[in-house]
Symmetry: C2
Subunit: 226 residues, 2 copies
Protein backbone atom coordinates (compact mmCIF):
# COMPACT_ATOMS: atom_id res chain seq x y z
CA UNK A 1 0.00 0.00 0.00
CA UNK A 2 2.96 2.28 0.57
CA UNK A 3 4.13 4.19 -2.46
CA UNK A 4 6.81 2.29 -4.42
CA UNK A 5 9.23 5.05 -3.45
CA UNK A 6 11.51 4.99 -6.45
CA UNK A 7 14.92 5.60 -4.94
CA UNK A 8 15.65 9.24 -5.39
CA UNK A 9 18.84 10.25 -7.11
CA UNK A 10 20.88 13.28 -6.13
CA UNK A 11 21.94 14.53 -2.76
CA UNK A 12 19.61 13.24 -0.02
CA UNK A 13 17.47 15.69 1.86
CA UNK A 14 18.79 16.83 5.19
CA UNK A 15 15.37 17.13 6.84
CA UNK A 16 11.72 16.46 6.05
CA UNK A 17 8.79 18.68 5.24
CA UNK A 18 7.22 17.57 8.48
CA UNK A 19 10.25 18.72 10.46
CA UNK A 20 9.92 22.13 8.86
CA UNK A 21 6.24 22.30 9.73
CA UNK A 22 7.03 21.18 13.27
CA UNK A 23 9.58 23.95 13.59
CA UNK A 24 7.15 26.51 12.22
CA UNK A 25 4.46 25.41 14.66
CA UNK A 26 6.89 25.47 17.55
CA UNK A 27 7.94 29.00 16.71
CA UNK A 28 4.33 30.07 16.37
CA UNK A 29 3.36 28.61 19.70
CA UNK A 30 6.25 30.09 21.62
CA UNK A 31 6.58 33.49 20.03
CA UNK A 32 3.32 34.22 18.28
CA UNK A 33 2.55 34.36 14.61
CA UNK A 34 4.93 37.23 13.91
CA UNK A 35 7.96 35.30 15.06
CA UNK A 36 7.62 32.58 12.46
CA UNK A 37 10.40 33.39 10.03
CA UNK A 38 12.12 31.37 7.36
CA UNK A 39 15.40 31.99 9.11
CA UNK A 40 13.96 30.86 12.41
CA UNK A 41 12.58 27.69 10.91
CA UNK A 42 15.88 26.95 9.19
CA UNK A 43 17.79 27.48 12.40
CA UNK A 44 15.49 25.11 14.28
CA UNK A 45 15.93 22.27 11.84
CA UNK A 46 19.58 22.99 11.22
CA UNK A 47 19.75 24.04 7.60
CA UNK A 48 20.51 27.27 5.81
CA UNK A 49 17.54 29.62 5.45
CA UNK A 50 17.26 29.28 1.71
CA UNK A 51 17.34 25.50 1.91
CA UNK A 52 13.74 25.76 3.07
CA UNK A 53 12.88 26.67 -0.49
CA UNK A 54 13.64 23.18 -1.72
CA UNK A 55 10.74 21.93 0.39
CA UNK A 56 8.28 24.76 -0.16
CA UNK A 57 8.16 27.40 -2.89
CA UNK A 58 7.78 30.23 -0.41
CA UNK A 59 6.87 31.06 3.14
CA UNK A 60 3.17 31.29 2.42
CA UNK A 61 3.22 27.70 1.19
CA UNK A 62 4.78 26.59 4.46
CA UNK A 63 1.99 28.22 6.42
CA UNK A 64 -0.66 26.82 4.12
CA UNK A 65 0.76 23.35 4.55
CA UNK A 66 0.78 23.87 8.30
CA UNK A 67 -2.92 24.68 8.28
CA UNK A 68 -3.69 21.74 6.09
CA UNK A 69 -1.80 19.36 8.35
CA UNK A 70 -3.72 20.83 11.23
CA UNK A 71 -7.08 20.15 9.65
CA UNK A 72 -5.93 16.67 8.77
CA UNK A 73 -5.40 15.90 12.41
CA UNK A 74 -9.01 16.38 13.46
CA UNK A 75 -10.48 13.13 14.56
CA UNK A 76 -13.47 12.22 12.42
CA UNK A 77 -14.35 9.12 14.43
CA UNK A 78 -16.87 10.29 16.98
CA UNK A 79 -18.04 12.55 14.27
CA UNK A 80 -18.78 9.89 11.69
CA UNK A 81 -20.45 7.50 14.12
CA UNK A 82 -24.04 7.13 12.94
CA UNK A 83 -25.12 5.68 16.28
CA UNK A 84 -24.62 9.00 18.01
CA UNK A 85 -27.43 11.57 17.72
CA UNK A 86 -26.61 14.08 15.01
CA UNK A 87 -26.53 17.11 17.28
CA UNK A 88 -23.97 15.40 19.46
CA UNK A 89 -21.93 14.61 16.43
CA UNK A 90 -21.87 18.22 15.35
CA UNK A 91 -20.97 19.34 18.83
CA UNK A 92 -18.15 16.83 18.99
CA UNK A 93 -16.61 18.27 15.86
CA UNK A 94 -17.12 21.84 16.97
CA UNK A 95 -15.53 21.23 20.34
CA UNK A 96 -12.63 19.35 18.87
CA UNK A 97 -11.97 22.03 16.30
CA UNK A 98 -12.13 24.71 18.94
CA UNK A 99 -9.81 22.89 21.31
CA UNK A 100 -7.24 22.25 18.65
CA UNK A 101 -7.25 25.74 17.24
CA UNK A 102 -7.33 27.61 20.50
CA UNK A 103 -4.28 25.60 21.55
CA UNK A 104 -2.42 27.17 18.64
CA UNK A 105 -3.79 30.70 18.37
CA UNK A 106 -1.48 31.73 15.59
CA UNK A 107 -2.88 29.06 13.31
CA UNK A 108 -6.32 30.64 13.39
CA UNK A 109 -5.29 33.71 11.48
CA UNK A 110 -3.54 31.49 8.99
CA UNK A 111 -6.68 29.43 8.55
CA UNK A 112 -8.79 32.51 8.01
CA UNK A 113 -6.10 34.15 5.93
CA UNK A 114 -6.83 32.14 2.83
CA UNK A 115 -9.55 30.13 1.17
CA UNK A 116 -10.43 26.79 2.74
CA UNK A 117 -9.80 24.84 -0.42
CA UNK A 118 -7.25 22.30 0.75
CA UNK A 119 -8.24 18.62 0.74
CA UNK A 120 -8.62 18.43 4.49
CA UNK A 121 -10.67 21.59 4.61
CA UNK A 122 -12.93 20.17 1.92
CA UNK A 123 -13.22 16.94 3.86
CA UNK A 124 -14.34 18.86 6.90
CA UNK A 125 -17.25 20.37 5.04
CA UNK A 126 -17.95 17.04 3.45
CA UNK A 127 -18.24 15.32 6.81
CA UNK A 128 -20.35 18.12 8.16
CA UNK A 129 -22.74 17.84 5.24
CA UNK A 130 -22.93 14.12 5.84
CA UNK A 131 -24.05 14.52 9.42
CA UNK A 132 -26.70 16.96 8.40
CA UNK A 133 -27.87 14.68 5.65
CA UNK A 134 -28.13 11.92 8.25
CA UNK A 135 -30.26 14.32 10.24
CA UNK A 136 -32.71 14.35 7.38
CA UNK A 137 -31.78 17.55 5.63
CA UNK A 138 -32.00 17.84 1.87
CA UNK A 139 -28.65 18.13 0.09
CA UNK A 140 -29.16 21.83 -0.37
CA UNK A 141 -30.19 22.45 3.20
CA UNK A 142 -27.28 20.34 4.39
CA UNK A 143 -24.90 22.47 2.36
CA UNK A 144 -26.39 25.69 3.63
CA UNK A 145 -26.43 24.49 7.21
CA UNK A 146 -22.81 23.40 6.90
CA UNK A 147 -21.94 26.94 5.97
CA UNK A 148 -23.76 28.34 8.97
CA UNK A 149 -22.12 25.92 11.36
CA UNK A 150 -18.66 26.49 9.98
CA UNK A 151 -19.18 30.22 10.17
CA UNK A 152 -20.27 29.98 13.78
CA UNK A 153 -17.48 27.68 14.88
CA UNK A 154 -14.69 29.51 13.10
CA UNK A 155 -16.11 32.90 14.01
CA UNK A 156 -16.24 32.00 17.68
CA UNK A 157 -12.70 30.69 17.56
CA UNK A 158 -11.49 33.78 15.73
CA UNK A 159 -13.01 36.15 18.28
CA UNK A 160 -11.67 34.03 21.10
CA UNK A 161 -8.07 33.97 19.96
CA UNK A 162 -8.27 37.65 19.07
CA UNK A 163 -9.00 38.28 22.71
CA UNK A 164 -6.26 36.20 24.29
CA UNK A 165 -3.86 36.91 21.51
CA UNK A 166 -1.47 39.47 22.80
CA UNK A 167 -1.19 38.97 26.54
CA UNK A 168 0.68 35.70 26.14
CA UNK A 169 -2.32 33.42 26.65
CA UNK A 170 -3.81 33.44 30.12
CA UNK A 171 -3.66 29.90 31.48
CA UNK A 172 -7.01 28.61 32.71
CA UNK A 173 -10.48 29.51 31.56
CA UNK A 174 -11.32 30.60 35.07
CA UNK A 175 -8.51 33.11 35.10
CA UNK A 176 -9.36 34.44 31.69
CA UNK A 177 -12.91 35.10 32.82
CA UNK A 178 -11.60 36.92 35.88
CA UNK A 179 -9.35 39.07 33.73
CA UNK A 180 -12.19 39.93 31.41
CA UNK A 181 -14.44 40.68 34.36
CA UNK A 182 -11.89 43.09 35.78
CA UNK A 183 -11.58 44.81 32.40
CA UNK A 184 -15.35 45.22 32.15
CA UNK A 185 -15.64 46.55 35.68
CA UNK A 186 -13.09 49.21 34.85
CA UNK A 187 -15.05 50.73 31.97
CA UNK A 188 -17.64 53.44 32.11
CA UNK A 189 -21.03 52.30 33.35
CA UNK A 190 -22.56 55.36 31.75
CA UNK A 191 -21.23 54.76 28.27
CA UNK A 192 -21.91 51.06 28.20
CA UNK A 193 -24.88 50.39 30.48
CA UNK A 194 -25.90 47.09 28.86
CA UNK A 195 -22.41 45.67 28.95
CA UNK A 196 -21.86 46.55 32.57
CA UNK A 197 -25.34 45.40 33.51
CA UNK A 198 -24.60 41.91 32.27
CA UNK A 199 -20.92 42.01 33.15
CA UNK A 200 -20.91 38.51 34.55
CA UNK A 201 -22.24 37.12 31.29
CA UNK A 202 -20.04 39.20 29.03
CA UNK A 203 -17.03 38.11 31.06
CA UNK A 204 -17.95 34.54 30.21
CA UNK A 205 -17.75 35.13 26.47
CA UNK A 206 -15.07 32.83 25.07
CA UNK A 207 -15.78 30.04 27.49
CA UNK A 208 -16.73 26.52 26.47
CA UNK A 209 -20.09 27.04 28.04
CA UNK A 210 -20.93 30.13 26.03
CA UNK A 211 -19.56 28.51 22.90
CA UNK A 212 -21.90 25.56 23.37
CA UNK A 213 -24.81 27.78 24.32
CA UNK A 214 -24.49 29.57 21.03
CA UNK A 215 -23.98 26.38 19.12
CA UNK A 216 -27.19 25.02 20.61
CA UNK A 217 -29.08 28.11 19.51
CA UNK A 218 -27.68 27.81 16.02
CA UNK A 219 -28.60 24.14 15.87
CA UNK A 220 -32.08 24.98 17.11
CA UNK A 221 -32.48 27.44 14.28
CA UNK A 222 -31.25 24.98 11.71
CA UNK A 223 -33.35 22.18 13.14
CA UNK A 224 -36.57 24.15 13.14
CA UNK A 225 -36.18 24.94 9.49
CA UNK A 226 -36.05 21.36 8.27
Amino acid sequence: MTTPTTRPIGRPRAVTEQAILDAALRLMDTGGATSVSVRGIAAQVGIAPNAVYTYFPNKAAVLRALVERFLGEVNHDRFADRQVPWRERVKALAVELRERLVAHPGAVHLLLGGPMDGPNAMMLRESLSEVLADAGASPDDAARASYVLLVYVLGAIALEVAELDHPATAPTERERVATRRAAIDSISTQSYPRTTESAATVAKYYTTEQFLWGLDRVLDGLDAHT
Copy 2:
Protein backbone atom coordinates in the same frame (compact mmCIF):
# COMPACT_ATOMS: atom_id res chain seq x y z
CA MET B 1 -18.84 72.68 22.37
CA THR B 2 -15.65 72.49 20.35
CA THR B 3 -12.53 71.97 22.37
CA PRO B 4 -10.94 75.29 23.37
CA THR B 5 -8.01 74.25 21.19
CA THR B 6 -5.23 75.93 23.07
CA ARG B 7 -2.93 77.06 20.31
CA PRO B 8 -0.22 74.48 20.13
CA ILE B 9 3.35 75.58 20.53
CA GLY B 10 6.19 74.10 18.56
CA ARG B 11 6.46 73.33 14.91
CA PRO B 12 3.02 72.82 13.38
CA ARG B 13 2.09 69.37 12.18
CA ALA B 14 2.49 68.80 8.49
CA VAL B 15 -0.48 66.43 8.17
CA THR B 16 -3.29 64.99 10.30
CA GLU B 17 -3.92 61.62 11.86
CA GLN B 18 -6.89 61.25 9.55
CA ALA B 19 -4.71 61.80 6.49
CA ILE B 20 -2.44 59.02 7.70
CA LEU B 21 -5.38 56.70 8.20
CA ASP B 22 -6.71 57.63 4.77
CA ALA B 23 -3.36 56.79 3.23
CA ALA B 24 -3.20 53.48 5.07
CA LEU B 25 -6.68 52.55 3.92
CA ARG B 26 -5.90 53.54 0.35
CA LEU B 27 -2.81 51.37 0.35
CA MET B 28 -4.74 48.48 1.84
CA ASP B 29 -7.49 48.72 -0.74
CA THR B 30 -5.20 48.92 -3.72
CA GLY B 31 -2.43 46.55 -2.76
CA GLY B 32 -3.80 44.29 -0.06
CA ALA B 33 -2.98 44.16 3.60
CA THR B 34 0.66 43.26 3.05
CA SER B 35 1.39 46.44 1.13
CA VAL B 36 0.51 48.76 3.97
CA SER B 37 3.90 49.97 5.13
CA VAL B 38 4.97 52.89 7.23
CA ARG B 39 7.15 54.02 4.37
CA GLY B 40 4.26 53.76 1.94
CA ILE B 41 1.97 55.76 4.18
CA ALA B 42 4.60 58.43 4.66
CA ALA B 43 5.18 58.69 0.93
CA GLN B 44 1.45 59.09 0.30
CA VAL B 45 1.03 61.96 2.73
CA GLY B 46 4.37 63.52 1.89
CA ILE B 47 6.39 63.17 5.06
CA ALA B 48 9.43 61.17 6.07
CA PRO B 49 8.69 57.62 7.21
CA ASN B 50 9.63 58.17 10.81
CA ALA B 51 7.47 61.28 11.04
CA VAL B 52 4.54 58.90 11.24
CA TYR B 53 5.69 58.11 14.74
CA THR B 54 4.72 61.57 15.83
CA TYR B 55 1.09 60.68 15.23
CA PHE B 56 1.09 57.04 16.30
CA PRO B 57 3.47 55.15 18.58
CA ASN B 58 3.92 52.31 16.08
CA LYS B 59 2.46 50.69 13.03
CA ALA B 60 0.10 48.49 15.02
CA ALA B 61 -1.46 51.59 16.54
CA VAL B 62 -2.12 52.98 13.09
CA LEU B 63 -3.95 49.84 12.10
CA ARG B 64 -5.88 49.74 15.34
CA ALA B 65 -6.97 53.32 14.84
CA LEU B 66 -8.00 52.45 11.30
CA VAL B 67 -10.27 49.70 12.55
CA GLU B 68 -11.72 51.91 15.20
CA ARG B 69 -12.51 54.64 12.70
CA PHE B 70 -14.11 52.00 10.56
CA LEU B 71 -16.42 50.83 13.29
CA GLY B 72 -17.24 54.41 14.12
CA GLU B 73 -18.60 54.90 10.63
CA VAL B 74 -21.35 52.31 10.89
CA ASN B 75 -24.69 53.97 10.75
CA HIS B 76 -26.66 53.26 13.91
CA ASP B 77 -29.80 55.01 12.72
CA ARG B 78 -31.88 52.31 11.11
CA PHE B 79 -30.52 50.14 13.79
CA ALA B 80 -31.66 52.19 16.76
CA ASP B 81 -35.15 52.86 15.38
CA ARG B 82 -37.57 51.23 17.80
CA GLN B 83 -40.39 51.39 15.25
CA VAL B 84 -38.74 48.78 13.09
CA PRO B 85 -39.24 45.12 14.07
CA TRP B 86 -36.22 43.89 15.98
CA ARG B 87 -35.25 41.20 13.50
CA GLU B 88 -35.12 43.79 10.77
CA ARG B 89 -32.97 45.97 12.94
CA VAL B 90 -30.48 43.19 13.51
CA LYS B 91 -30.42 42.39 9.83
CA ALA B 92 -29.83 46.03 8.97
CA LEU B 93 -26.76 46.12 11.15
CA ALA B 94 -25.48 42.80 9.89
CA VAL B 95 -25.86 43.81 6.28
CA GLU B 96 -24.26 47.18 6.82
CA LEU B 97 -21.33 45.67 8.66
CA ARG B 98 -20.86 43.11 5.96
CA GLU B 99 -21.02 45.61 3.14
CA ARG B 100 -18.54 47.93 4.77
CA LEU B 101 -16.06 45.26 5.67
CA VAL B 102 -16.21 43.32 2.45
CA ALA B 103 -15.49 46.57 0.64
CA HIS B 104 -12.18 46.71 2.49
CA PRO B 105 -11.07 43.10 2.81
CA GLY B 106 -7.79 43.91 4.43
CA ALA B 107 -9.53 45.53 7.37
CA VAL B 108 -11.19 42.27 8.33
CA HIS B 109 -7.98 40.61 9.38
CA LEU B 110 -7.09 43.70 11.33
CA LEU B 111 -10.44 43.63 13.09
CA LEU B 112 -10.02 39.98 13.97
CA GLY B 113 -6.37 40.43 14.76
CA GLY B 114 -6.93 42.01 18.12
CA PRO B 115 -9.51 42.29 20.87
CA MET B 116 -12.62 44.31 20.12
CA ASP B 117 -12.14 46.62 23.05
CA GLY B 118 -12.14 50.00 21.35
CA PRO B 119 -14.96 52.44 22.15
CA ASN B 120 -16.69 51.93 18.83
CA ALA B 121 -16.43 48.17 19.09
CA MET B 122 -17.96 48.34 22.53
CA MET B 123 -20.71 50.56 21.22
CA LEU B 124 -21.52 48.01 18.59
CA ARG B 125 -22.17 45.32 21.17
CA GLU B 126 -24.00 47.82 23.28
CA SER B 127 -26.40 48.65 20.46
CA LEU B 128 -26.84 45.01 19.64
CA SER B 129 -27.73 44.20 23.23
CA GLU B 130 -30.22 47.05 23.18
CA VAL B 131 -32.08 45.67 20.21
CA LEU B 132 -32.28 42.27 21.82
CA ALA B 133 -33.47 43.79 25.04
CA ASP B 134 -36.15 45.57 23.06
CA ALA B 135 -37.07 42.18 21.67
CA GLY B 136 -37.84 41.08 25.18
CA ALA B 137 -34.71 39.21 26.11
CA SER B 138 -33.36 39.30 29.65
CA PRO B 139 -30.09 41.18 30.05
CA ASP B 140 -28.19 37.92 30.25
CA ASP B 141 -29.87 36.42 27.23
CA ALA B 142 -29.34 39.65 25.34
CA ALA B 143 -25.64 39.53 26.12
CA ARG B 144 -25.35 35.91 25.09
CA ALA B 145 -27.36 36.46 21.93
CA SER B 146 -25.18 39.44 21.06
CA TYR B 147 -22.20 37.18 21.20
CA VAL B 148 -23.80 34.65 18.90
CA LEU B 149 -24.82 37.27 16.39
CA LEU B 150 -21.45 38.95 16.37
CA VAL B 151 -19.77 35.61 15.95
CA TYR B 152 -21.99 34.76 13.02
CA VAL B 153 -21.64 38.08 11.27
CA LEU B 154 -17.91 38.42 11.72
CA GLY B 155 -17.34 34.75 10.99
CA ALA B 156 -19.25 34.96 7.74
CA ILE B 157 -17.35 38.08 6.73
CA ALA B 158 -14.04 36.48 7.63
CA LEU B 159 -14.72 33.40 5.52
CA GLU B 160 -15.94 35.54 2.69
CA VAL B 161 -12.92 37.79 2.46
CA ALA B 162 -10.65 34.80 2.93
CA GLU B 163 -12.13 33.46 -0.27
CA LEU B 164 -11.87 36.54 -2.45
CA ASP B 165 -8.71 37.65 -0.79
CA HIS B 166 -5.93 36.89 -3.15
CA PRO B 167 -7.33 37.01 -6.67
CA ALA B 168 -7.72 40.77 -6.52
CA THR B 169 -11.45 40.75 -5.71
CA ALA B 170 -13.75 39.47 -8.42
CA PRO B 171 -16.13 42.27 -9.35
CA THR B 172 -19.77 41.24 -9.11
CA GLU B 173 -21.40 38.66 -6.90
CA ARG B 174 -22.64 36.88 -9.99
CA GLU B 175 -19.14 36.45 -11.31
CA ARG B 176 -17.78 35.30 -8.00
CA VAL B 177 -20.43 32.60 -7.86
CA ALA B 178 -19.52 31.50 -11.35
CA THR B 179 -15.86 31.30 -10.43
CA ARG B 180 -16.64 29.25 -7.36
CA ARG B 181 -18.92 27.02 -9.38
CA ALA B 182 -16.17 26.35 -11.89
CA ALA B 183 -13.76 25.52 -9.08
CA ILE B 184 -16.21 23.06 -7.55
CA ASP B 185 -16.91 21.41 -10.86
CA SER B 186 -13.21 20.80 -11.33
CA ILE B 187 -12.77 18.77 -8.14
CA SER B 188 -13.18 15.07 -7.66
CA THR B 189 -16.77 13.91 -7.47
CA GLN B 190 -15.58 10.75 -5.80
CA SER B 191 -13.70 12.40 -2.98
CA TYR B 192 -16.30 15.02 -2.23
CA PRO B 193 -19.69 13.60 -3.23
CA ARG B 194 -21.77 15.86 -0.99
CA THR B 195 -20.03 19.01 -2.13
CA THR B 196 -20.41 18.19 -5.79
CA GLU B 197 -23.98 17.03 -5.31
CA SER B 198 -24.98 20.42 -4.00
CA ALA B 199 -22.52 22.34 -6.14
CA ALA B 200 -25.00 25.03 -7.02
CA THR B 201 -25.62 25.77 -3.38
CA VAL B 202 -22.00 25.62 -2.30
CA ALA B 203 -21.12 27.98 -5.12
CA LYS B 204 -23.54 30.46 -3.58
CA TYR B 205 -21.72 30.54 -0.26
CA TYR B 206 -20.58 34.09 0.36
CA THR B 207 -23.55 35.68 -1.30
CA THR B 208 -25.89 38.10 0.40
CA GLU B 209 -28.65 35.57 0.09
CA GLN B 210 -26.77 32.81 1.89
CA PHE B 211 -25.58 35.29 4.48
CA LEU B 212 -29.15 36.28 5.24
CA TRP B 213 -30.37 32.70 5.13
CA GLY B 214 -27.93 31.82 7.86
CA LEU B 215 -28.71 34.93 9.81
CA ASP B 216 -32.37 34.01 9.74
CA ARG B 217 -31.62 30.54 11.07
CA VAL B 218 -29.50 32.01 13.84
CA LEU B 219 -32.22 34.47 14.73
CA ASP B 220 -34.75 31.64 14.71
CA GLY B 221 -32.64 29.76 17.20
CA LEU B 222 -32.22 32.76 19.44
CA ASP B 223 -35.88 33.65 19.17
CA ALA B 224 -37.14 30.22 20.09
CA HIS B 225 -35.10 30.23 23.23
CA THR B 226 -36.64 33.36 24.75
